[in-house]
Point group: C2
Chain length 329, copies 2
């Protein structure tokens, strides 16, 4: 899960006082931060250290990313005129550091690298609200009262996201993960009316590249089927539904998740028991990637995360042995 | 929906600079604030102006309720010793102003009054986090790592909530609504393990009083069945699932909801269309109470809320006429 490094002392040391966007713009630093959790935890894949706002910032939208709060947009998106401010996003010229980071990582990693971007809805919500929101009132109001402008905005964002992900894959990323973190605020009806087309554009626009496409959001129990339909190969789910139930909602797709990150703050025996519950739910499922159900909480003890990875690997090996015993040599 | 008055100028004038707890402690003022949205909107029931923290504040827990933020607890609940600080809650002596407000209202209202309280989980989350939270990390950690202390805390809170609601009904409330606003952060498994018993204690503890028990939370799509099982007659749902789908998840119960409060910020034709969608979803359902799916947003235009109430009444009358036409005289 992204932000896996956030709880590491070496991450805090590397980041020091610079902003996250400054860190992303420095390929050596961004690569180092990507590698830190891989070294510590021995996970089976790395996820590019980045921020969902990178393409927007690189195309000239003025913003601050405030620690513990999130992106704050200087002049939020409110009307037709703001479309002009968006411009287009050319990864090679606007954000060459991203592909450069990917290249460094691919040469250094012994596990696959997952590319990373935000989905159009979540990006639009930050642009319109001007920052994080609980009600997404301004976003939903624009979406409903000016569906044409909304569709143009989402389409433009889809183009930016797609360009960013294609360039990450071209540089060597072996999979992509698209975060629609806040889309769970919508009903299925609204998702289909206002969001699906743009997410579909991003996901199907990657099809020819032949890399697995992971699509994630939180509180998306009702949307999982539609998120799969949008073109995901793997749907990431939070802890609110059992992983086997999630799998039923995304026929033919794999699922990723879904340990509650808050579990990781409990003493180890409880963490182990909760990890085993997820694995038990997933038992026999074709296509399950063990993961947290949302980002690592900053106060998490890195030691616990290392133990989780070790436990999942151990249980996976035990399962594989049992299967080969059952099947016979 | 509670907080219906929050967008009214007369509410802001009445509240002026005092805290919400001060307003609740003044029966004439609390009654006036309860009446304001009833006068404005012509709704079919009133909901007691109060705050979920009232029993806790009245039993001696030091707190501030910060406008736009929520309750801030001076010394959060963290260990066994904190149980002693909770004390017991005697509505007659600790918060006599609540029953007094109810009595004023019952004598003035021509519609039923709904009593009001927070549910044990949501109250515990404020006590433990010390304020609002996104991750509920401290709450979940205590819940999982000290299930005995957690159960004692929830049981004590259930007693307080039950005492408060019983006294509201004794004073004349015709129904009760129990807000478990944040319980949607839990999986169904965790809800059943850690929360159901306490909510059940509150809801079944009201059974002999013969008033409808409404139980509400947001993001509770996966929990609706269990919230009904806890002893609710009516389950309140947010906008994330269609109201007919919600009804299927709570067999034998009525449902309340579920217009997205953010809809109310759009121009009237859009609001009307969204209201009609909820009514269409609910068509033919035995037991639907039209409502918002969460509290009124402060920036809502009161005129829009009045139009919504009028539209729902009008469509309800049209339906009734059509039914009587179909059935014949």
């Amino acid at each position: 899960m992204r932000q896996a490094g956030r709880s590491l002392p070496e991450y805090r040391a590397s980041r020091s006082s610079g902003s996250i966007l400054q860190a992303v713009r420095d390929p050596a630093l961004a690569a180092e931060i990507t590698l830190q959790p891989v070294r510590r935890y021995g996970v089976d894949a790395a996820i590019l250290f980045s921020d969902i706002m990178v393409p927007l910032a690189a195309s000239g939208i003025e913003m601050d990313i405030v620690a513990g709060k999130g992106p704050i947009i200087q002049t939020p998106f409110r009307s037709e005129r703001d479309l002009a401010r968006l411009g287009t996003f050319h990864p090679e010229t606007d954000a060459p550091y991203v592909a450069e980071t990917v290249k460094i990582l691919v040469s250094e990693l012994s596990v696959p690298l997952i590319g990373f971007a935000g989905a159009p809805f979540t990006l639009a919500s930050y642009l319109i609200e001007g920052g994080p929101s609980r009600s997404f009132a301004l976003t939903k109001t624009l979406m409903r009262s000016d569906p044409k402008l909304w569709a143009s905005l989402l389409d433009r964002l889809a183009d930016m996201v797609l360009a960013s992900l294609r360039s990450q894959v071209e540089a060597g990323a072996a999979a992509v993960q698209i975060f629609d973190s806040w889309v769970g605020t919508l009903s299925l009806r609204d998702y289909k009316t206002y969001v699906l087309a743009a997410s579909h554009k991003v996901l199907t626009g990657l099809q020819d590249m032949g890399v697995p496409r992971i699509h994630f959001g939180i509180g998306t129990g009702e949307l999982l089927g539609a998120m799969a339909e949008a073109g995901a190969d793997v749907v990431g789910v939070d802890w609110r539904i059992p992983i086997d139930e999630a799998r039923l909602r995304v026929p033919g797709r794999a699922v990723q998740g879904n340990l509650d990150p808050a579990v990781c703050l409990a003493p180890w025996p409880i963490v182990a028991s909760e990890v085993r519950k997820v694995l038990a739910d997933a038992k026999g499922l074709a296509g399950h990637i063990f993961n947290l159900g949302h980002g690592v909480l900053p106060e998490t003890d890195p030691g616990i995360l290392a133990e989780i990875v070790a436990l999942v690997h151990e249980e996976g090996r035990a399962d594989a042995e049992q299967d080969s015993f059952r099947t016979g040599p």
